[in-house]
Symmetry: D2
């Protein structure tokens, strides 16, 4: 099969290097540039010794990456606002963009400005972008794939918390089972979610053995989760979102508590979830009574899900485990890219990760 040339922009960060890994493992995508303005000129293997002997690739500058010949897709693993600045130029060159930043996730530019503190300067691209959660927007992503014949397109890849939160409750909301009450989401993230920067927060002696809530009432993933849940419910949904850091490198667990309408039974709930995820290649509903664990999905694009009905309060407890760098970032972007290129969704994503 004809290889498809791709560039990873911002490749030295955690999501970026994970994108590089998935591209190198991919049978169709071909890595032609991996940029990092900070590490430009260094071998990838110098920065990440795990890559010694695995690749000779060298970090380029962004400009070099953008100028690489025949690139069809660019993955942007850059901070918010950087994608705002980069996407137009890439798209003008005909390069479609898988943006892992937050810049094109919120459909309402005013909401973006409120939560990110800067005005949205690319509202045209924003309007045409599709939010890349395949379990919610597969149809939209396929339309984008069709449009890509004519023009560069952009997929706004979801954040890690929003991905796990959404997968936990989408079926219940879409089926109209939820009562009118805020959805409470408590989530646990591994430390890689805090990024590669060396800070007081990411110091081993702070992060180890030291779970803690953070960003309470203020985390920027809040409006993104609400937007997604509201889309699924067909009506505004509010959440109370409390993220926590826990001592592991990779992994994210979102546990949602959702008030159900009176009369919704465990059997009805289960049927709705089974139906919603029966054909999803990367979402596994665990058997009754089993709750998901982050280690089970580490290194993969899988999301594992457990649900329970608390009859005492008529409440759904749904817990979803993903790898924050996998389904929560890099491999979900690959899944979207596969759709964008008309490939099977599992292409390049089938290698089993360690199970111990």
């Amino acid at each position: 099969m004809q290889r498809i040339k791709v560039a990873v922009i911002g490749a030295a960060g955690y999501a970026g290097i994970e994108l590089v890994r998935f591209v190198l493992n991919h049978p169709v995508f071909e890595l032609v540039a991996a940029s990092s303005d900070g590490d430009a000129g260094k071998a990838l293997a110098e920065v990440y010794p795990a890559l010694v002997g695995q690749t000779d690739a060298v970090f380029s500058t962004h400009d070099e990456a953008a100028a690489a010949d025949a690139v069809e897709l660019a993955f942007l693993a850059v901070p918010h606002t950087a994608a705002l600045a980069m996407a137009p130029g890439l798209m003008a060159q005909g390069i479609s963009v898988l943006d892992l930043s937050a810049d094109f996730r919120l459909k309402d530019p005013a909401s973006y400005e409120r939560w990110y503190g800067v005005p949205h300067t690319q509202t045209g691209i924003l309007a045409a972008a599709v939010y890349g959660l395949p379990e919610l927007n597969r149809a939209g992503l396929k339309q984008l794939a069709a449009r890509r014949a004519d023009t560069a397109v952009l997929v706004a890849c979801p954040g890690c918390y929003p991905t796990a939160s959404a997968l936990a409750v989408l079926p219940a909301l879409a089926a109209g089972l939820a009562a009118d009450a805020p959805v409470v989401i408590n989530a646990l993230s591994g430390i890689s979610g805090a990024g590669k920067g060396a800070t007081a927060t990411t110091h081993f002696c702070n992060a180890n053995a030291n779970p803690n809530a953070y960003g309470v009432t203020t985390h920027r993933h809040t409006p993104e989760i609400e937007q997604t849940l509201s889309q699924a419910a067909g009506a505004p949904v509010k959440i109370v979102f409390t993220p926590h850091l826990v001592p592991l490198t990779r992994g994210l667990l979102a546990t949602a508590t959702l008030q159900l309408k009176p009369g919704v039974s465990a059997a009805a709930l289960e049927a709705v979830y089974l139906d919603a995820y029966a054909n999803e290649p990367f979402v596994q509903l665990l058997p009754r009574g089993i709750m998901p664990r982050t280690a089970s999905v580490a290194g993969s694009n899988n999301a594992q899900l457990g649900i329970a009905l608390d009859t005492h309060t008529q409440t759904l407890v749904a817990s979803c485990a993903i790898d924050n760098l996998g389904k929560g970032a890099a491999s979900q972007a690959i899944q979207c890219a596969n759709i964008l290129c008309g490939l099977a969704e599992k292409t390049g994503l089938t290698a089993l990760a360690p199970v111990v």
Copy 2:
């Protein structure tokens, strides 16, 4: 000062050996017996090498411990039902009991039978017992102290999850700020909470890097938490309680989400919490914007607390960190024992634990 002789029953488990540690560090209590039917005859230092050179104590049998001369207090760190069997005999000997099991926590014997699967056979003792959360029942504990002049008494020491959960929301409930909706409590526990038994769950390779919810809708601390919150509120309170295991040895974090009545302001909330905990020797309300972390309280009897008002949903998010083996078990029992003996509550509990 005259030493008070104490026995630790079930001293080889994690809570038991922590009780031994706090007793050995205590200026008034004197350890005269540490029993473990499984390890009887072995030196404590053989089972816990950290004690090599620190104590020559040897595990006795329960019968030997119960027969020790002049014991005034017995700490029971035994499984539920074992305390039911042991307490009457000890109390008949005039020994007051600090029971760390669940056997005397639920005031309603029917609830005990429903959640623990066995009938409650000591309803007389149960009726006279006081639930040993000093922040809620200090007056009751002091009455017990007075009664101890005449008769042996029993304190039902709280579970780890109930301690942290209660401290997180008691002030709001007691002040009547809560709306009529279930309180959602998500909690994270270190692996020592699963006990000393070697199981598939406690295997390092399962527990490491692998947060997961468990006991969803079925955890036995649920009725205990509801009983405590209802006492504080003066009306029935329901909860949705979801515990998780996270990869650390010690530490417990309970994050509660509580719907507030309309109009309750952040200032009002803060005032209520400041007032409730101003004179508590072991509860620290953190400055606005700071959420508690488990490492800060490891090895101590402290509980650290952070609160935030989510104005978007008129919800309180309150997070409380304790050491599950400290304030959640052993050192809280010492605090109760101090009250029972008319000692200052901080006696033996002032040594600072490591802060890094």
Copy 3:
């Protein structure tokens, strides 16, 4: 390409399930049986939730696995003595064996009896077996591959400590650079090296934050390492081997200290190592000054190596990192099986593992 049918015997243990993973990821090998007498009848995904949605395979009994149709290769991930019992029957059926136990590693049956406490009952198979460290015995493995046309053969796959220890010092010994003094090897193993059994040792609360030496002077890998180093040196080599457990799930680091002959220079050493490993597909000598880290090889068949000359004592310090379940067990067996089947050594072993 024609698939080659393989069975994994003892598939429920850590090395076993990792073999299953590598076989499922392999383009030529086809898993036709995964046996576990303890878990027979259960789905693999029931025991290892990471496999939910990834495979429908069910654990069989050993007898069912041995009777599976057209199996060409059997991987034995069973305790020592079990392989002694199983190998003859499998080989009589024409099935070649990759044995991950210790039963056929020591060439001297008397040494086996001394260290493992039982007589060696299959000395014929032992004599014909090849020790499966490709970096040392590639020629022997290729001869075995040729012989497999006529008869079933057996590869004795190396232990985890011997693999890392050997790769650390083989080049220096083979080149005759070592003085006549014991080689000191200190090694660190993740907890998965202690096996899947739930024991006091593997309990999270014991293993976490608690490095310790064990098996000092008595570890059974000692004679295996000495045999391998002596083969490389062409003369008897003695070692002082001190393994340690350290708090991680997977990973093994062996640091060897080796007295050099006078006059051996850093340049000479480096040349010898570069030459020895230049064409090895899975051994990476790191740039001067860089020492290997276990996370860099986790989940892979790679071994990373760093060397330094201590001129102060004319000593080589060589440190080698592997994944104890990868190059130290499962994936090295796959590498050997590839050689046995005439496949490229990297077949099925090229997927990059996570680099963060």
Copy 4:
């Protein structure tokens, strides 16, 4: 008893805050200043939330600390060269110094300059300083205590690796049991040993699950260890020292391999060690066959030790566990300060640390 006023200089680092903790727990020492030029003006509890509610102390500048009234002792937990600059001024004021930096450890100024890259400017103080390993230099420390009546004195507190390394082999060397060969020391340190600075090394995602050797042949503790071992042996001793970082917050394990003279028996070895440490208040020789573990000494001033004779190579393997911030830094300085003040060595150091 009359309190003794002390200052902790450099109190915001890990060793510094641990010194603060031990001083606050001490019945005789009274903390009158805790300086940190970087955090001056902040409450200790702001920087270390574990101290909320435990102390109202505020970080001062160094100048403020030096000017505090009636300070008798200053603990210097500052980087090397800073102690060179600070000690003379403090001593001129009559303040005795417990220096935890490396500035006064190496008796040979030329060695200091070679390893630390700067000339030693305080050779007079250096000559009079005593190296504060009580197990080796108790007599010298007592002489210093006597001299303190007349003049300020300085104790050069040992590094963490040198403390554990020395305790592992001092008895064998002092008894003349060692053959003439380099002592091989492999050591494992928790991440707090790398200091409080947020760096690529201390990032959780780098340090977690990732043991690695570092500073091979170049670590600055090498000459300090050699000096100490040579003093004990009464003759020059060379070492090959290989430190490793392992994923835990606190704890240090040094495993030494030492060639013995022919004929030295296990019984003779054991007798020598038992005799050497029989009266040491903080060193515990574990029973035959037991090797020490770092968690057993975390938070304390204890050193636990195990020894084994490898008869195969006539080699001693001795492993010693300490807390790098305890006996390896802060609490050993307190032990020295106790000696300096004529207090019992265990004063303020008896509280048991958690044993689970």
